[in-house]
């Protein structure tokens, strides 16, 4: 059970005694990291909760300028990317290299589509003068000032989310390269598993951003 220092490999680094111990450690480490991400976004969610409670009417009016159809479709795109990601992990479990590559490429494409649509939405805000700052314009009582708060949070939260997507895209590209080099097998696919957890987590953040920013004030007053 207790082994002497051994020759290092990807699946068994020198500080571990068994591949199983290493895998457990990686998994726990990733989950703890995701918890730090929960708290990171948590601060932004707290700001959103506070200001929506102070300015419910303004937040409603500002929220209704967002395009729900595009938001919903983009949510669907992201959920599809989570589906392809989990299939890539499954292919990793089974050690099917070509399937891993295929599903990673699909995930990457879907992620890029999401970011493209997001970019289109941000551009719409620019055209409509809904970017906070000197050029901000919104007609209505209290909107010129306080609606900027909504859009500040909108850009901060969707922006942080998009940055996480970009990091995820980078990780997917790296995984593709490593898979192509034949680094992964049924015995060692931990990186695919870990990036999968990260990708799903970023998906979950959007699952909450979508209703909070687009939906909950949709019905008229």
């Amino acid at each position: 059970m207790v082994s002497e220092p051994h020759v290092e490999s990807l699946a068994l680094r020198e500080q571990f005694n068994s591949a199983e111990q290493q895998k457990d450690a990686s998994s726990l480490g990733m989950w703890v990291f995701l918890i730090t991400e929960v708290m990171f976004f948590g601060g932004a969610f707290a700001a959103y909760t506070v200001y929506r409670s102070i300015y419910p009417g303004v937040f409603g009016a500002a929220s209704r300028t967002l395009n729900t159809t595009i938001g919903a479709l983009n949510t669907a795109v992201l959920l599809c990317s989570s589906f392809t990601m989990v299939l890539a992990v499954r292919a990793g479990q089974l050690g099917r290299r070509k399937q891993i590559m295929a599903f990673l490429v699909l995930t990457l494409i879907l992620g890029m589509v999401f970011l493209g649509v997001k970019g289109y939405e941000w551009n719409e805000k620019y055209v409509e003068h809904h970017i906070p700052g000197p050029s901000f314009q919104m007609e209505g009582p209290g909107l010129q000032d306080h609606a900027q708060l909504f859009f500040s949070l909108y850009f901060a939260m969707t922006g942080l989310h998009a940055m996480h997507m970009l990091v995820g895209a980078g990780l997917l590209s790296w995984l593709l390269y490593q898979t192509w080099r034949g680094k992964f097998s049924a015995a060692y696919y931990t990186p695919i598993d870990m990036v999968g957890l990260y990708w799903h987590f970023v998906d979950i953040i959007w699952i909450f951003l979508f209703p909070l920013l687009y939906l909950i004030d949709r019905h008229g007053h």
Binding site: M1, V2, S3, E4, P5, R13, E14, Q15, F16, N17, Q21, D24, A25, L28, G29, V32, F33, I35, T36, E37, V38, M39, F40, F41, G42, G43, A44, A46, A47, V50, Y51, I54, Y55, V58, P132, G133, D145, H146, Q148, L149, S152, L153, F155, A156, L160
Partner: protein, 541 residues
């Protein structure tokens, strides 16, 4: 017998040579030393600022530096000491070095991430140093909005970026510790056989992981606000600066426990070793660390009593704050009970432990004063608060840090420090500390506000006393720096277990081999089991 072998055998220190073997090392022990050099450097930078502050306060008329400069001095003193010295101090140096050794592991779970976290601290530190050299920052270490976002003309962005990056260093250290404690314990090392130092670091790691990300996102919002004026903390656009204070203290109050919990872990080791007794109420002490970590997240609003927070929230936070006293008192009582009928020896580390227990008790009890809504209205933003948190951070955390450094110095370097000089410095530090900070309690209670350099003449006597104490304290801090370096060459060879202590770290060579143990140990006994003939046993190891 061991001395002759020690010259030739491979240790973590002589296993590789050259700068590269240090800068690219994955060995937790070497990374611990990299941290040690880094935080010592920052400690002396922060100390220079403290010196200038105390010199300025010698006279009530503010005639050494301008008000603007003074604002920068106390800001940079706080920023450097909190984020670049105290937060990484014990966990990143002693924790990094000894946590794997104490649980019988070859390394932390993620050695590469461990090295990365050191680089992040250095990069964050370079940002902060750049800000200091370029002209400084004057917001106070708390970066309160809207001053930090809209009005200050100093290097807020560079400093905040530095803290942001250093924060990830702290997060990664915590993550590494959590996974290591869960997954890397050697056979027989059950949770309730772990040294209390490890328990304390586990609790600390929880705070680092759960709290620091909130500071990170808060700093991101501050940066956005300052660069783009997006309104999140700007009352002109409907933002509420108090929200910043909530988010900031959600991290920064528990951050105090990032500083003090590891010190408490050190004290548990010291009290046990130098009383030759198991810690009284091991389970209570272990769980009190976790309890402090958890309760620490429920009390942050006591920093906002006079900032416009609702009275209801003030009452809730005040009430919850008192609960922190329970686990803290459990620790103090159990250390004291451990001493009872113990076979106490007064080696230097034990002197620091005594110092810690006394000073932490004063710091903790005055914490109850300021946690009380009514009293806090009177003493908020006075030297009473300054004295209170220095009793915790300096009297507590730094005493624990120095005590631990002396205790494990023989293990780290293989050499003993000079006991006489060390005892003298412990005494000088204790006296200097009290002379510096006790007058500040009185100053604060009389109404001397913090962060002012011009003050009424009647406060001068107490300020002079405080500055005199700071001079003594500075001498006390310089002494270890000198005799530790001296001991590297001239210190007596330590041997495996100079204190005849029980922990696993004492069963391997001093300094330890690269993989810590020639053979992974198997633990069969509780921690701090001094009932047997420990002294002979460790020689066999």
């Amino acid at each position: 017998m061991t001395t002759a072998v020690a010259e030739e055998r491979e240790t973590y220190l002589n296993a590789g040579h050259g700068v590269k073997s240090w800068l690219l090392t994955k060995d937790h022990k070497r990374i611990g030393l990299l941290y040690l050099f880094t935080i010592t450097f920052f400690f002396f930078i922060g100390g220079v600022f403290a010196t200038l502050i105390r010199l300025e306060l010698l006279s009530p008329h503010g005639n050494l530096v301008s008000s603007e400069t003074y604002n920068k001095l106390f800001t940079m003193h706080g920023v450097v000491m909190v984020f670049f010295f105290l937060i990484p101090s014990i966990p990143a140096t002693l924790g990094n070095f000894f946590l794997p050794l104490m649980i019988g592991a070859r390394d932390l779970a993620f050695p590469r991430i461990n090295l990365l976290s050191w680089y992040l601290l250095v990069i964050g530190g370079l940002f902060a140093i750049f800000a200091m050299v370029a002209g400084g920052v004057d917001t106070g270490w708390t970066f309160y909005t809207p001053y930090s976002t809209s009005y200050s003309n100093t290097w807020v962005i560079a400093t905040a970026l530095g803290i942001f990056v250093a924060g990830f260093s702290s997060i990664l250290t915590g993550l590494n510790f959590i996974v290591t404690v869960h997954r890397m314990r050697c056979p027989g090392m059950t949770w309730f056989r772990m040294p209390l130092f490890v328990w304390a670091h586990y609790a600390t790691a929880l705070i680092q992981v759960l709290g620091t990300p909130v500071l990170a996102v808060t700093l991101v919002l501050v940066l956005c606000e300052r660069m783009f004026h997006i309104g999140i903390f700007d009352p002109a656009l409907g933002g509420d600066p108090v929200l910043f204070q909530h988010l900031f203290w959600f991290y920064s109050h528990p951050a105090v426990y990032i500083m003090i919990l590891p010190a408490m872990g050190v004290i548990s080791e010291l009290v046990s070793t130098f009383s030759r007794k198991a810690i009284f109420g091991y389970g209570f002490v272990a769980f009190s660390s976790v309890a402090i970590a958890v309760l620490g997240f429920l009390v942050w609003g006591h920093h906002l009593f006079v900032s416009g927070q609702s009275l209801f929230a003030g009452m809730v936070f005040s009430f919850l704050s008192y609960f922190v006293a329970i686990p803290s008192a459990i620790k103090v009582f159990n250390w004291t009970a451990t001493l009872y009928k113990g076979s106490i020896s007064y080696a230097t580390p034990m002197l620091y432990a005594f110092g810690f227990i006394g000073l932490f008790t004063i710091g903790g009890l005055t914490g109850l004063f300021v946690a009380c809504l009514g009293i806090d209205v009177h003493v908020t933003d006075t030297y009473f608060v300054v004295a209170h948190f220095h009793y915790i951070m300096v009297g507590g955390a730094i005493m624990g840090y120095l005590g631990g450094l002396h205790y494990w110095w023989p293990k780290i370097t293989g050499r003993m420090y000079p006991e006489g000089w060390a005892k003298l410095s412990a005494l000088v530090i204790f006296l200097g500390f009290n002379l510096t900070f006790f007058p500040q309690f009185m100053l604060g209670y009389l109404g001397m506000p913090r962060r002012y350099h011009v003050y009424p003449d009647e406060f001068q006597v107490l300020h002079v006393l405080s500055t005199a104490g700071a001079s003594v304290l500075a001498v006390g801090y310089l002494m270890p720096l000198i005799y530790f370096m001296w001991s590297l060459k001239y210190g007596a060879i330590a041997g495996r277990n100079p204190w005849k202590a029980t922990g696993l770290e004492w069963q391997t060579d001093s300094p330890p081999p690269v993989h810590n143990f020639d053979e992974i140990p198997i633990v069969t006994r509780e921690a701090y089991d001094y009932s047997g003939t420990v002294g002979q046993e460790v020689q066999v190891g």
